[in-house]
């Protein structure tokens, strides 16, 4: 059901207040334009578009805005309301997990992550004002190498068990909860060194075509506000094969392949 700000969500006092609602003289009222979401006793209103609302455990992709050596932290853009923080103490430095961080490391911060670098990370905690703090203390996380970044609305990426996918077509995909999506070639196991060294060898043209095709498919799905997960992206990828990669940015074809994907997925669900 559609709600606009000021509309009553429910007068039943049993329900709990979720995102997008507030109490107006004890009546639960909507504060955004969106659909009512009910999870048990929790009522929230989900708008079509918002900035990223982080939760602990979310996987995000972000870009380093600046290095604040004096505060021993990096500021990261994750399309959240406030800039996200990555503390020096929340990263694994080359040389092992338990290494103590020294003054030299503080001075070297820029050589680990510098402005413009992309990283994948996990939300560790949320500050009182809503700012996120992330960590990269897992071999999965860290600096991202060659590839393509896409930005979509965070509401299109559902929270799932895994956000790292190796698609059958041969690309590696990180679906950040914050709507930042990273497409690259699969990284062979064991090479990840906390992600500080990146490979800058040219990527073969054939692989490029696959990456760009996946990119354009995701954009087509996002334009139609379809949820993004490995199934929908794979389905769309297959459907898109009847077109050339460069045709997939034409709005007519984008709509077409997204709709075909939608239909095909509905049929598969029924089976």
């Amino acid at each position: 059901m559609l709600c606009l700000p000021g509309d009553t969500v429910t007068e039943d006092a049993d329900y709990m207040r979720g995102h997008g609602t507030y109490y107006k003289s004890k009546v639960l009222t909507s504060s955004v334009a969106g659909c009512i979401d009910k999870v048990n006793k929790l009522l929230s209103v989900r708008p079509l578009r918002t900035r990223y609302n982080g939760e602990i455990g979310d996987i995000v992709v972000g870009r380093v805005i600046d290095v604040q050596t004096e505060h021993k932290r990096w500021r990261i853009d994750t399309s959240s309301r406030l800039d996200t923080i990555l503390l020096l103490s929340s990263v694994n430095l080359p040389g092992g997990e338990l290494r103590r961080k020294t003054v030299e490391d503080e001075l070297m911060m820029k050589s680990f992550f510098k402005e413009g670098d992309l990283i994948s990370a996990e939300v560790q905690s949320i500050f009182a004002d809503g700012a996120l703090s992330v960590h990269t203390r897992n071999l999965k996380y860290g600096k991202l190498g060659q590839g393509v970044l896409l930005r979509v609305s965070p509401s299109l990426v559902e929270r799932r068990k895994t956000h790292f996918h190796n698609l059958p077509c041969g690309v590696h995909l990180i679906l950040g909860n914050n709507g930042y999506i990273w497409i690259s070639l699969p990284v062979s196991e064991g090479v990840e060194s906390g992600g500080f060294a990146i490979n800058l060898d040219p990527v073969p043209l054939a692989d490029r075509e696959v990456i760009s095709r996946v990119r354009n498919c995701i954009l087509a799905l996002a334009k139609q506000k379809m949820m993004l997960h490995s199934t929908s992206i794979n389905t769309c990828y297959e459907i898109s094969q009847s077109y050339q990669v460069k045709d997939l940015i034409k709005s007519k074809i984008m709509t077409e392949i997204a709709q075909l994907t939608n239909e095909k997925m509905k049929i598969e669900e029924l089976q």
């Binding site: 600096k143 060659q146 590839g147 970044l149 034409k250």
Partner: protein, 276 residues
């Protein structure tokens, strides 16, 4: 426009791709993204056009007035350009940020239109009175700076196509000017000579057109050309700081003419189909 800062990996991937003539979105170096053109949308202007491409949106509106001509150019009309980056397409533009682009854009338009044959058909009474067309360019949103020039030139040309000037009658005895009220007694402008702009951006070792924001962030610099409908270059300008070698530019020129002619045809076709 927020300056996009790319990571080393992204930049490297992007530049290698362009060297292979395969860009991130699958285009080749000389492919343009879709352009959506609309004309005749502002009733308060005698001509208007809106153009939209990915992340970019520009509106051009034409207004007219009768003025005395410049003493040095008695038989030529006048065209004035005004540009505004509306709403600073991004908060970073707030205040003076966008001013630089606007000034550059307007001066390039002025230089390119200076000797346009269009000015000749704006004369009402030679030496006494000519039409002055004021063209307002309102930039609602910017994708990349380089493609902005191209799109603005298309918007302006389409708005001029859409422009209807009232027919003016001059009383031969008193030399008084009469403008009839009849809304159908109008004249259209001949826009064929009006130039379009083509910007080529150098990335790695190649030149591309219509760069995305990311591509522009990894470019060395851009070259801006205004080209008329014969494919002749009228005017050019270099944008950005990087230095470019002459030889490859010479090789570019025939290619630029071809791209420009395609744009000219595109505008003509679109405008015709929109009016019919």
């Amino acid at each position: 426009m927020a300056e996009v800062k790319l990571s080393e990996g992204e930049k490297c991937y992007l530049i290698h791709g362009i060297n292979d003539n395969f860009r991130i979105d699958g285009r080749s170096c000389w492919d343009r993204r879709e352009i959506d053109l609309e004309i005749n949308l502002l009733p308060s202007c005698v001509g208007s056009a809106q153009i939209r491409s990915v992340n970019c949106s520009v509106i051009a509106g034409v207004k007219m007035s009768l003025v005395p001509p410049d003493p040095g150019r008695p038989g030529k009309g006048k065209i004035e350009f005004f540009a505004d980056i509306s709403a600073n397409a991004d908060p970073l533009f707030e205040g003076r940020g966008g001013q630089g682009i606007v000034v550059e854009l307007v001066s390039f338009f002025e230089d390119s239109y200076k000797d346009c044959s269009l000015l000749d058909c704006l004369t009402v009474v030679e030496g006494k009175s000519v039409w002055c067309l004021s063209i307002d360019i309102l930039i609602l949103e910017i994708g990349s700076k380089a493609s902005l020039y191209d799109l603005c030139s298309i918007a302006v040309k389409a708005a001029l196509y859409d422009t209807r000037l009232p027919k003016v009658y001059v009383n031969p005895d008193t030399m008084d000017i009469e403008i009839p009220d009849d809304p159908f007694d109008i004249m259209r402008l001949d826009i064929s000579q009006i130039p379009v702009f083509v910007t080529v951006t150098r990335i790695g070792n190649s030149y591309i057109i219509d760069p995305t924001q990311e591509e522009e962030a990894s470019s060395i610099s851009s070259l801006l050309f205004s080209v008329n409908n014969c494919g002749t270059l009228l005017h050019s300008k270099k944008l950005g700081l990087g230095s470019l070698h002459c030889d490859p530019i010479k090789e570019l020129i025939p290619k630029i003419s071809v791209v420009a002619l395609e744009l000219h045809d595109f505008i003509e076709d679109q405008c015709k189909s929109l009016t019919s």
